[in-house]
Symmetry: C2
Subunit: 243 residues, 2 copies
């Protein structure tokens, strides 16, 4: 009997370096809203997304690549950038064939930490591309870390719920000894049929809903409406083909 690969869930960027992520696939999860926006923009034909960790780099890369600069800090659009972190801003009519340079509070930060910590492969996941993530992880048979971006290092529920959705789908392919994963799966199972109402209890909902983002947030927990697999390659997030 061949040994199954392992799966762990990391609940905050602060907990990343407890784990040895080399030789593993790290799934960057930032449901509200970076990885939902990434899936959507790529699904709608963006040629690539360059995730950057600072606003200065975003502006600079916007100039050198001709890309669209976008991002948020604390849920708000940043002065000096052209666009925000809402998936609704990136319909096909706007984004097809273009480069997006994106910086966000939590998601792009975790991605760069995973890079620095030697992840073998980095993909991004959120409900809009749930099945694409699950299919890929089931097939690859590598060790997996589901990395929740959290909110300024504080645990958040929406990222854990997505981790739980992935675990429910693929757990038979993995060995899982991880209380974070057990918790995430249970929270997802308890709420998968009342997701839209449950997310209204989360702190992030209250933080973002004050900016009128309710529709955005409901979109971000809708499964498989932008079902492609973003993979990090040479500085860009692009669509992984043939998955």
């Amino acid at each position: 009997m061949s040994k199954k690969p392992s799966l762990h869930t990391i609940l905050s960027p602060r907990l990343l370096d407890i784990y040895d992520i080399s030789n593993s696939i790290v799934v960057i999860i930032d449901v509200f809203r970076a990885t939902s926006t990434i899936a959507t923009a790529l699904y709608n034909g963006a040629s690539r997304i360059i995730p950057v960790d600072t606003v200065d780099k975003c502006i600079q890369l916007g100039k050198t690549t001709g890309g669209i600069t976008a991002g948020e800090r604390d849920g708000k659009v940043i002065e000096g950038l052209a666009h925000g972190n809402s998936p609704a801003e990136y319909p096909r009519s706007f984004i097809e064939g273009k480069t997006l340079v994106l910086t966000t509070t939590n998601g792009t930060k975790l991605l760069h930490m995973a890079l620095q910590n030697g992840a073998a492969e980095i993909i991004t996941g959120s409900f809009p591309n749930l099945d694409a993530v699950c299919n890929y992880l089931s097939k690859e048979q590598k060790n997996v870390f589901l990395g929740c971006s959290a909110w300024k290092d504080r645990f958040n529920l929406e990222d854990a719920l997505f981790a739980g959705a992935v675990i429910e789908s693929i757990k038979d392919h993995f060995t899982i000894h991880c209380d974070s994963s057990l918790m995430a799966e249970e929270m997802y199972l308890f709420h998968k049929n009342n997701m839209a109402s449950f997310i209204r209890k989360t702190t992030h909902w209250h933080r973002l809903a004050q900016y009128g983002l309710e529709k955005d947030l409901e979109y971000c927990v809708t499964p498989n409406v932008a079902n492609i697999l973003p993979i990090y390659h040479n500085g860009d997030l692009i669509v992984k083909q043939d998955v």
Copy 2:
């Protein structure tokens, strides 16, 4: 209307310094087994418990205080210490009137971090002293942090379940905007009636049960069997009187 104090749950020692814990009560939670043992030894008449973060300090203080040295690393008794970290080792016939010098993998570490980070007050909690903790926190009307000791900084379920039990009991007295607390409360509500079977799914159960500690672990999730309030004062954990 007077403003309610806040309550947060901290899921790992690594996440402690995200929060400003000054002017707050920090509850150190290490269900398997440090804070269960602390409640039990004090309930059974120990005059005080000196929590120390290293084995060397434990041995040294054992000599200077005449106290009983005790502790564990990775769930096992440590060479050079007289006793382990099991509540069953501290019946009244043995511990009454004595000093216990205790070092453990996770619980005493978090306690010292909370001290260094300026907690106004530190108490310890586990299921055996659940009501004592809840009564005290409800009455004090101060900001509260429920600090889960975790396992080598990894989130664990048993500490979150205790945080959830506290939250269920006292939440009406507090303002809670904290996904960790929301998760902990839900996990507790889902499992409060099947606790003994659910804890068998946790990673810590599997880690400790291999040492034959099942009875210990069941005791550690039994509410109110050692219902006193341990409070940290001048280097010692002692029983808080008049609560």
